[in-house]
């Protein structure tokens, strides 16, 4: 019986996550519609909720084409890497005190390791497609993700210093008095920027800038392999939102409502915030993006770490 439940929880979380990622495409289109004074998809089912199913049928029945000039093995592996790395990340998220797949002490390092490995997915997609636009997109993504990983790690260290642990459970418990957004506002902003860049969402979606390089690294992809990149992106957004919730907004903690509801509410709020960012902010130029990272975010991240360490040593909370 114990084995059964220990198998069922990850399976349930997996299904919920995939459904959430699928329906967040609907959420994004509806919200973008509302913010741009139009309706968005509202025809299929109540509020257009079944639009996702229609899209799914469409994408599943498309020709699963591999270009003849592509490096076939890598072309097929690339989208899988993204899905696996993103889904693995959820293994350490504490959804509530009882719902968590696995727990270990270096959970945050695990997150960083996964995010650095997921770069390969996009790189290999760009390389194996054997096409100019895909390669350009992959080059952009790799440079962007490598750079922003640095600030992501440094921003997280502020939280680690205050909580005194790499374990996400300890970090959530350390926020029982106050949320870390209060003591780490700068760290939160840095993590938010890095998170947007890591999940290459607008406004940092230069790897897929349609006006410049068609669709970037997934130009040659079609059907379900494109679907994996597409869903992988939304999974990434949900993952970053869940991390923000866990690290800076008290995780599942909150009054009255059960923990899982608090966690879901906070995470959905940040997913919507990601969508709002896309609707509100135009894309920067690529060199602006990189120089913003290295000459503004990096010094700020180091400063944040230094100040946090000094604060921890002098006041000791």
């Amino acid at each position: 019986m114990i084995e059964l439940t220990s198998l069922l929880t990850p399976l349930a979380i997996l299904i919920v996550l995939l459904l959430a990622a699928a329906w967040s495409t609907w959420l994004e289109r509806r919200l973008l519609g509302i913010w741009q004074d139009r309706l968005g998809p509202n025809r299929v089912g109540p509020f257009g909720l079944f639009q996702v199913i229609a899209d799914m049928i469409k994408i599943f029945t498309k020709d699963d084409w591999i270009p003849p000039f592509a490096d076939k093995a890598l072309f097929v592996i690339a989208p899988m890497i993204l899905m696996i790395m993103t889904l693995l990340g959820f293994a350490i998220i504490p959804f509530s005190p009882d719902i968590q797949i696995t727990e270990f002490d270096n959970a945050l390092l695990f997150v960083l390791a996964l995010s650095s490995l997921s770069v390969y997915s996009i790189m290999l997609a760009g390389f194996s497609s054997n096409s100019k636009y895909a390669l350009l997109g992959a080059l952009r993504t790799t440079a962007q993700m490598l750079s922003y990983e640095v600030f992501m790690g440094l921003a997280l260290m502020g939280v680690v210093v205050i909580a005194g642990s790499f374990s996400l459970n300890d970090i959530v418990h350390a926020q029982s008095q106050y949320w870390f957004i209060l003591s780490q506002p700068l760290g939160f902003l840095l993590f938010l920027f890095a998170g947007v860049a890591e999940s290459h969402r607008a406004p940092f979606d230069l790897p897929e800038a349609e006006t410049e390089i068609v669709a970037g690294f997934h130009t040659e992809y079609a059907s379900m392999k494109f679907g994996m990149f597409f869903i992988g992106e939304y999974l990434g957004v949900i993952f970053i939102s869940a991390l923000i919730t866990t690290l800076y907004f008290g995780g599942w903690q909150g009054p009255f409502l059960p923990p899982i509801v608090w966690f879901t509410l906070k995470t959905v709020f940040f997913v919507m915030f990601f969508i709002l960012l896309r609707a509100a902010i135009p894309r920067p130029r690529y060199d602006q993006l990189m120089s913003f990272g290295w000459s503004i975010l990096l010094p700020l991240a180091l400063l944040n770490l230094l100040l946090t360490a000094v604060w921890k040593l002098t006041i000791g909370v």
Partner: protein, 208 residues
Amino acid sequence: MIEAIFMITAIVCLISALLTVTAHNAVHALLYLVTMMIAIALIFFLFGSPFAAALQIIVYAGAVMVLFVFVTMMLHQGEKSNLDEKALFSLKNAKGPLLLATILIAELLMISVQPLEMNSSLVPLSAISNEAEQDSAQRDNTSQPNSVKSLAIQLYGPYRLLVIIAAMLLLSALIAAIHIARKTPKHVDVDLSPEETQLANKQQKANS
């Protein structure tokens, strides 16, 4: 159970190391190298050192190797580079390294059959330094979850000089990189492409 996982990981590690050398496609070779890094990280993890495992992936698989693949990807010319690699990879070229490597393997086998008495000059630094002994005693007292803490104490305690030297080395490398990458305005004027020089000549003619 752990032994079985270790054996599988070690075999994966060895196979991918071998394929790294023998693959003709440079990007494929690098990917085998990445696989090897991940296998090594798993071995670290099995040996009870999750921090080293995480660093192995973040630093080597996630940063160093990404840069390698990045550069190779840009310079890769498809089938042509594969053929070039294939031409380079012949037994004739590999004779010397193979011979030398065989000597090393023979040495390794000899040592593993008949363990040597440890030479005192080869004992790690921490065993010599008293300070380090105290720290390692402290480390034994602290529980396993604080392995990061004990590592940090080691790094900023007995090994702080090495940390400073490494930091200075990195800083000098950084300065050198900035110096090399610095743009000189002269260069931009001189390095016109053939088309651009033609255009400039035409414009001059048209003007005159």
